[in-house]
Symmetry: C2
Subunit: 278 residues, 2 copies
C-alpha cells in the first residue's frame, strides 16, 4: 500500500526552470475551456497544440507567445509522439510556461500519459489540467444524457481508431457492459463497429447518435437505430470530428429534444473571450 499526500513543496535543484502544463482545451467551444486553461493559455510563453484546437482558443495566447502546431491534418502526418515529447522537454529548458494544448481531456485518448511519462523521466516539472472530454461535450450539446437512472448506470468511452491502442478493442465485451457506449474517432469505421456491436448481441434497433463538430456552431446530430446509423451518418454528410453514442439514453435525448433545447448562442462565445480580456 502506498498512501500519497499531495501538497507541500520542495526545492528541486538542477531541473529546467519551465513548467509544462498538459492542458485539455475541451470539445471546441471556447466557453467550455476551464478558467485555469484559459489563464494558462494567456500566460504561455510556448504553446504546443493539436490540429483540433480552434483558432478562437489559440487567439487567447499573447501575441509574443511562440505557437507550435503539431497536429495531424488530412493529407499530412502530424509530428510523431517522440518528437513532441522532445520538443516539450526542450521548451521547458528555455521558457517558464509551456502549455501543451490538446482537444478534449489530456488523459482521455489524448496521449497525455505518454507525455507525462517522458517529462517525468526527463526531470521536467509538469501539471495536468483536465478538459471537457468530447463525450461530455457532445452529450450536453445534443441533449443526450450519458447515464440515466434505470437505463444506464455506466458509460464506456472507447476509441474507434484501434491503431491508437496496441490491444484490439474488444467490442463484444464492451457491448456486454450494459451501459452507454461513447465511441471516439470511430466515424470512418462506423459500419464495421456497428456490425460488431450487433454480432455481440446489441439489438438492431438500439438507439444511436452521431454528433459531429460537437459544441461548435456547425454541430450536427444524426440519430438512427444501430442497424442504420452508418448509412444515416453518411447520407447526412456527417464529418469528423464526431462522437458516436450507442444506447437507450439516445432515446431519452429524443424525448428531451422533442421540446427543443434552447439554441446555443454565438454571443456566449464572444462573451467568453471578453471575460478573458486583460
Amino acid at each position: 500500500m502506498i498512501a500519497i499526500a499531495e501538497g507541500g513543496s520542495r526545492a528541486r535543484p538542477r531541473r529546467p526552470r519551465g513548467v509544462v502544463h498538459l492542458v485539455g482545451a475541451g470539445p471546441g467551444d471556447p466557453g467550455l475551456l476551464t478558467l485555469r486553461a484559459a489563464r494558462l493559455i494567456r500566460r504561455a510563453d510556448v504553446l504546443v497544440h493539436d490540429a483540433l484546437v480552434g483558432e478562437d482558443i489559440l487567439a487567447l495566447a499573447a501575441p509574443a507567445a511562440e505557437r507550435i502546431d503539431v497536429g495531424k491534418r488530412a493529407g499530412r502526418r502530424g509530428v510523431p509522439q517522440h518528437a513532441i515529447n522532445r520538443l516539450l522537454i526542450e521548451a521547458a529548458g528555455r521558457a517558464r510556461t509551456v502549455v501543451r494544448l490538446k482537444g478534449g481531456d489530456p488523459f482521455v485518448f489524448g496521449r497525455g500519459g505518454e507525455e507525462a511519462l517522458a517529462l517525468a523521466a526527463a526531470g521536467v516539472r509538469f501539471r495536468v489540467v483536465p478538459g471537457i472530454t468530447a463525450a461530455a461535450g457532445a452529450a450536453a450539446s445534443a441533449g443526450i444524457p450519458l447515464t440515466h437512472r434505470s437505463l444506464a448506470h455506466a458509460v464506456t468511452l472507447v476509441t474507434g481508431h484501434e491503431e491508437e491502442g496496441g490491444r484490439r478493442v474488444d467490442w463484444e465485451a464492451i457491448a456486454g457492459a450494459g451501459g452507454t457506449i461513447a465511441i471516439y474517432m470511430g466515424l470512418g469505421r462506423l459500419e464495421e463497429i456497428a456490425r460488431r456491436l450487433r454480432a455481440a448481441g446489441l439489438a438492431a434497433d438500439t438507439p444511436c447518435a452521431v454528433v459531429a463538430h460537437a459544441t461548435l456552431p456547425e454541430q450536427r446530430t444524426v440519430t438512427a437505430p444501430l442497424s442504420g446509423i452508418a448509412r444515416a451518418a453518411a447520407a447526412a454528410g456527417a464529418a469528423a470530428p464526431a462522437l458516436i453514442l450507442v444506447g437507450d439514453v439516445v432515446a431519452v435525448g429524443e424525448r428531451i429534444r422533442a421540446h427543443g433545447p434552447v439554441p446555443r448562442k454565438r454571443r456566449v462565445h464572444r462573451a467568453a473571450r471578453a471575460a478573458l480580456a486583460p
Copy 2:
C-alpha cells in the same frame, strides 16, 4: 433516420420567460469551472445547488441571488428529485436565469437527464453546460491517465451506488470490457466491489487507486492492488467523495508520480476568483 441541424431560433409564445441552465460545477477546484459555468453562476437570479458544490464556487454568485441548497448530507436526506424538478420549473416562471449547479457533469451520474425531461415536458427552456467529471478531475490531479496506448483503449465510468440505477451493475461484464474502470460513489462498498471484480476475472494484483477529495487541497490518493485496496483505503482514512480507479493505468501513474508532479497551488484558486471579479 432523423437528422437534426442545431442552431436557428424560433419564437416560443406562452413559455416561462426564464431559462434553466443545468450546469456542471466540475470536481471541486474552482479553477476547473468552465468559463461559461462561471459566467452563469455570476448572472444567476436563482441558484439551485447540491451539497458537493463548494462555498468558494457558490461565492461567485451575486449577493442578491437566491441560493437554494437541495443536497443530501450525512444525517439528513436531500430534496427528492421530483421536488427539485418542480422547484426548477417554478423558478423559471419568476426568474430570468436559473442555474441548477451540480458537482461534476450534469449528464454523468448527475440526474441531469431527469431534470431535462421534466423541464422539456413543462415547456421550460433549458441548456446543458458540461462540467469536468470526477474521473477526469481525479485522473489529472493524481497523475493517472484514464486511457493509455497499448494498455487501455477504453474507460468505463460506473456508479458504485447501485440504488442510483434501477438495473443492477453488471460488474462481471464491466470487468470483461478490458479498459480502465472508474467507479463513482463506491467507497462505502469497495470491499464488495473489489470481490466481485476479482470473481469476474480481474487479477488480485490489478493496480487500483482511491482518489478522495480530488482536485481540492485536501486531496489524498491511496494505491494498492485490487486484493488490498479496500483495506488500504480504510487504513488511510479515505473519505467520500472518492473516485476509484482500477486498471493498469494506475501503475503508469505510479511511474509518472515517482518523479512527482508539481504540487497544485492555492494561488491558482485565488487567481481564478480574481479573474471573475466584475
